[in-house]
């Protein structure tokens, strides 16, 4: 069993395992192909359980021949049963929250970057770079710092201050581009032609994307080697959504888990909903949009994996829905109040869509639903600023009593 080649998802042409991402014949995306023939499922599980406490425990299913080199190992984030959330939504179902804010730089991007940076080192790159909506920027800067590599991080200049700060602190070359994410991405695609750098989500994208499969692997392992019935997952480029599906399918094909594949529900913000729109319209491809939403981490108007996300949602019997900025804020609050998890706007989008599915009656009694929370609330403070009231008092009992006179419980 080993990593074999890069293979075009459209025409099937194969390429060597180098830095490449688009097929020369048809421009289709390249994906990592493996040869897992002869894999013994019981032995594979044993190797996983004896492995590290992070994503490298799944190294057999990642694009490396040797031991992956990344010192800031992410993964094994908590999977928490959220009964109070289910109750608030009126659901007679098992709701589980996969809290991926519990990674080194507080988002799921640590998974993809750990894989990309390890691959960059294996391929001999000395500089890593990316086009980012913020979370990826944090992760690239941090993993590059930990590995002792030079890094260049390109982001839209109007990004949240917290995300800029939590990138620059690692000593990267932070570049704010006057334009939206799609403009940044285009610039990086052009730069990747002339600079000898590993752009994690351009010329290393086939490897980078593989990191998202670990979210499926962990979910299955944490559920006791079982599949969930349904997943709710945010969609920006569509890469996470399609790779989580691939992770479940791969392990099912190899006999590590068994059963029906989950229903996939995708979540977008209404202000940037090219995939949800294409789903609703019955299109096979997405029409690009100019994003206008508080969910900046999902603000990709021209999603690279849009067509595959559409296929996945339809094939699994799921859907792709969108929610307003108000519903995003309500989603952040609902998750915080019922689970103790403070998520960023992307998580608000995901919980908002969960609420929509509950209201529509899509979630059946007894279903086991996994909700992917991909980032941390402290990174998007603008979305929740002014959303609370503080009781400011003098430091004496009288002040306290008058502030809380409606609350008269005291010790006898």
């Amino acid at each position: 069993m080993s990593v074999e080649s890069l293979k075009c998802k459209e025409c099937g042409a194969t390429y060597e395992l180098g830095a490449g991402y688009a097929c020369e014949n048809c421009f289709g995306p390249l994906e990592v192909a493996y040869d897992h023939s002869g894999l013994d499922a019981t032995e594979a599980k044993r190797r996983i359980q004896a492995g590290s406490q992070g994503i490298w425990r799944y190294a057999d299913f990642l694009p490396f021949t040797g031991r992956p080199l990344d010192p800031l190992e992410p993964g094994l984030t908590p999977l928490l049963r959220a009964d109070r959330l289910a109750e608030r939504l009126g659901l007679d179902a098992e709701i589980w929250i996969k809290n991926d804010a519990a990674n080194p730089t507080h988002s799921f991007k640590d998974r993809v970057v750990a894989v990309a940076v390890a691959k960059a080192r294996e391929l001999g790159f000395e500089t890593v770079a990316c086009a980012s909506t913020g979370n990826l920027a944090n992760a690239v800067a941090a993993h590059a710092a930990a590995a002792g590599l030079e890094s260049y991080v390109l982001v839209p200049a109007n990004l949240e201050e917290q995300k800029l700060l939590a990138t620059a602190i690692y000593g990267t070359n932070l570049v704010g581009v006057r334009g939206n994410y799609d403009a940044v991405n285009r610039l990086c695609t052009q730069l990747a032609e002339t600079r000898p750098w590993a752009f994690v989500n351009v010329n290393l994208r086939p490897y980078y994307a593989e990191g998202s499969k670990t979210l499926a692997y962990e979910t299955a392992e944490q559920l006791g080697w079982e599949l969930p019935d349904r997943v709710v997952c945010p969609i920006a480029s569509g890469s996470l959504f399609t790779k989580v599906a691939r992770g479940f399918q791969e392990w099912t094909d190899l006999g590590l888990i068994e059963g029906e594949q989950p229903v996939f529900n995708g979540a977008q913000a209404l202000g940037c909903s090219p995939v949800a729109t294409a789903f609703a319209e019955g299109w096979d491809v997405c029409k690009p949009q100019k994003p206008e939403t508080i969910a900046k981490s999902l603000a990709i108007g021209d999603p690279a994996d849009g067509p595959y996300a559409l296929e996945q949602a339809r094939r699994s019997g799921g859907s792709i829905d969108s929610v307003t900025d108000e519903e995003i804020r309500a989603g952040i609050r609902l998750l915080a109040e019922t689970t103790g998890i403070f998520t960023e706007t992307a998580g608000g989008v995901t919980v908002g869509v969960l609420a929509k599915l509950a209201e529509r009656g899509d979630i059946g009694a007894g279903e086991r639903v996994v909700v992917y929370i991909t980032g941390e609330g402290l990174k998007t403070l603008d979305a929740t600023r002014d959303s609370f009231h503080m009781h400011e008092i003098d430091p004496d009992l009288e002040s306290f009593e008058s502030a809380f006179e409606h609350q008269q419980e005291v010790v006898a």
Binding site: E24, F27, R186, N201, S237, L240, P288, D302
Partner: protein, 90 residues
């Protein structure tokens, strides 16, 4: 109108290594037809049944043609037409 078409690395085998090709045309579609006349192999690689393949992006002086009139988008003297793979990012 004379315009420059910028060819991405992945397609340069079909242009004999050239990174830029000068063509004449009044729309993006015209310019691409002129490009295919000069380099026949390119047609099949980036189009299918007369349309751009789904993972091909084309920009006129930086703006995605899908926000304009697609292949009917008018081009002006000196414009730069850029072809790029649509499979990056995220």
């Amino acid at each position: 109108m004379a315009v420059t078409v910028k060819i991405p690395t992945q397609l340069r085998a079909a242009t004999g290594g050239e990174a830029e090709v000068e063509v004449v045309g009044s729309t993006v579609g015209d310019a691409l037809d002129a490009l295919f006349e000069a380099h026949a192999d390119l047609r099949e690689r980036i189009t299918q049944d007369g349309d751009l393949r789904r993972f091909v992006n084309v920009y006129v002086s930086g703006e995605d043609i899908r926000f304009q009139q697609g292949l009917e988008t008018a081009i002006n003297e000196g414009d730069e037409v850029t072809i790029l793979p649509a499979v990056a990012g995220g």
